[in-house]
Amino acid sequence: MGVRVGIPRALLYYHYYPGWEAFFRALGAEVVLSDETTKAILDRGVRDAVDEACLPVKLYLGHLANLRDKGVDYIFVPRIVSVERKRYLCPKFLGLPEIARFCVPGLPELLDVEINVYERYHKSKRSLEELASRFGSSKQAGKLALQEAKVAQKAYEDKLRQGYTPQDVFSGKERKENGRIKVAVLGHAYNLNDPYTSMGLLEKLREMGAEIITTEMLLPEEIKRGNDFLNKEIFWTFGKELLGAAFHLLDEGNIQGIVLVVSFGCGPDSLICELVERIYRREKTVPLLMLTLDEHTGQAGVVTRLEAFMDMLRWREAI
């Protein structure tokens, strides 16, 4: 049996899991996922995190503890600084290995490879190859593993662009019949797709007859187009995507409503969503609902607001 590498089912899992899984499998490792989020996992994370950390970080720490209890050999906690030129991820990703190490006691060794393509790619590539060499693989095998990761990741992203959500893909679900009302649901993938903390938001909207559009379903050109009118480029990748999607969709004019989902106290979103709200308010064509999530959010309140919002959209369509 190969070494067991744990991957927390939280944060960038929703963006990159297929690539990560392919990478470690190709190196002969066994990939162990943390369990699906439960109240116990979240509570564990809340206990280990500092009060002010955002919900997704607290949840991540809970998943780390879950993996520790499963007795994995390593946990993959990469330091992902930047995934495209001249843009960063949120600061918490820059210090993630340290947050993990100093908040959650008794973790096994962390695979904290640094990915930073802010200036150029080759250094990150080298660190990934170094990571591969730790599994006793030859340089060639490391390169091959990277190649396989890229293929798997691309297949995943293509699937998302066809209108699947990460949960659809992971659970192997077929895409459902399109709803009649197109609703953009924008927010960090790790907030929208965790069935527990998002309270099944995407599925609920579908059940209420919505066809949902998320940033992952749009083309890079469309995101870019949505950012074109800005005075200054946004230096966060996820912020750029959220704002680009929001403005592109507003301009295209074929969504009936937009839901913004943010975690309580989210730094980047406090500014990005402010801009989105302002522009939508100026245009006055598409209704906007803003949902703030934290560990105290009650399901009933969220469902009521979603229902009211969908009713309103349907009513607007009828007249």
Partner: protein
């Protein structure tokens, strides 16, 4: 054209001097008051960090007084500050103000910092502008020096409040200087004024390091004047971050492609190996350095919801334990109450006093 800018501790004096010496008609924002904060909070995003809200209050008060141009700084992230100006411009526009916003971006971003300054100082020649920049740099260093000196004197003053009074007076000749030479003269005067405060030089005092997010460190209104408060309680405070450090790191080293502030980063390395935006890395590294220098404690301040400092906050308990230095973290914003703040401070000081007594009692054994 009536130019205004945001307040940020002594930087306001330097910024004001720069704009004035560039030949502009400067309208300084009124001093920060409760009204400023209320205005700022009312028109800012709820979860924006506190500095953005105070800026907004400054801008609105200045625009109401007739300012038509705002000079603001920018940045390239990942700290939110770099995008402040873009959001503030939209909010002020929606409020119906007519104004121009000039954003000074750091040079590595677009390489146009000097051009922007030249544009601002349109009436001045290049040599004149360079002299102004030199004056500004000296002024900033002088202000920083006087501030650091006041922190050393205050806990030892014989008449409570005499340091703060002298400090206010000492800043005037530095603020009014127009040339590098005048700044040097002003600095000498300022040193004399502060040096004239009667002190008890042999007094034993607690020493506390002050770390955290730069705005909260530099703007006394935002940190509830903790430096003065502690000083008057007989505590010597040393602030880890000064504007002159920031300028050296960001405007000099970075534009030359060099890494600034090496000792702090080296000290941080066992706990945090990478920058996390803002001053998160420095907060960790400076805490280690204060511990190594034998300080009695560290106070960490951050604006509520500041992600880089939350990263630091997640790491500081381990630093505190391993380096043997008590650390207290204050997350501040418009909701901060003075009474609660003071109570926590006093409790922290009690702890430090006890610790110090125990140490000196055990030392001979």
């Amino acid at each position: 054209m009536k130019v205004t800018y945001p307040h940020m501790g002594l930087i306001s004096i330097a910024f004001h001097g720069l704009l004035r010496d560039l030949g502009l008609d400067v309208l300084p924002p009124p001093p920060i008051t409760k009204k400023t904060i209320n205005l700022g909070v009312l028109h800012s995003p709820e979860f924006a960090c506190f500095p953005l809200k105070v800026n907004m209050g400054n801008f609105i008060e200045s625009l109401e007084l007739g300012a038509d141009t705002i000079v603001m700084a920018g940045g390239s992230g990942p700290c939110r500050f770099g995008y402040y100006a873009e959001v503030q411009r939209e909010i002020l526009t929606d409020l119906g103000y007519k104004f121009k916003m000039i954003v000074l971006e750091p040079p590595q971003e677009r390489g146009i910092l000097l051009e922007k300054i030249k544009e601002l100082g349109a009436k001045r020649s290049w040599p004149g502008i360079l002299q102004t920049l030199q004056t500004t740099w000296r002024r900033i260093k002088a202000l920083d020096e006087i501030h650091a000196q006041s922190l050393r004197i205050r806990p030892r003053e014989i008449v409570k409040g005499s340091t703060s009074k002298a400090y206010e007076k000492a800043l005037i000749p530095i603020a009014e200087a127009r040339t590098p030479r005048e700044v040097s003269q002003g600095l000498r005067m300022a040193r004399e004024i502060l040096g004239g405060v009667p002190i008890d030089a042999g007094k034993k005092v607690l020493r506390i390091g002050f770390v955290g997010e730069i705005y909260m460190l530099l703007e006394p209104y935002a940190n509830l004047e903790v430096e003065r408060l502690l000083g008057e309680m007989g505590v010597e405070v040393e602030r880890s971050v000064y504007m002159s450090h920031w300028i050296k790191d960001h405007l000099l080293y970075k534009s030359l492609g060099l890494a600034g502030n090496k000792p702090t980063k080296k000290a941080a390395a066992p706990y945090l190996k990478h920058f996390v935006g803002g001053h998160g890395w420095e907060s960790v590294g400076d805490t280690v350095r204060f511990a190594k220098r034998g300080f009695d404690g560290v106070i960490h301040v951050l604006p509520f919801t500041c992600t880089p400092e939350i990263v630091a906050q997640s790491i500081l308990p381990t630093v505190s334990r391993e380096q043997g230095i008590p650390v207290i973290s204050f997350s501040l914003d418009e909701q901060s109450g003075e009474a609660g703040f003071q109570t926590r401070l006093e409790a922290f000081l009690d702890l430090l006093e006890q610790r110090k007594k125990r140490k000196s009692f055990l030392a001979p054994l």
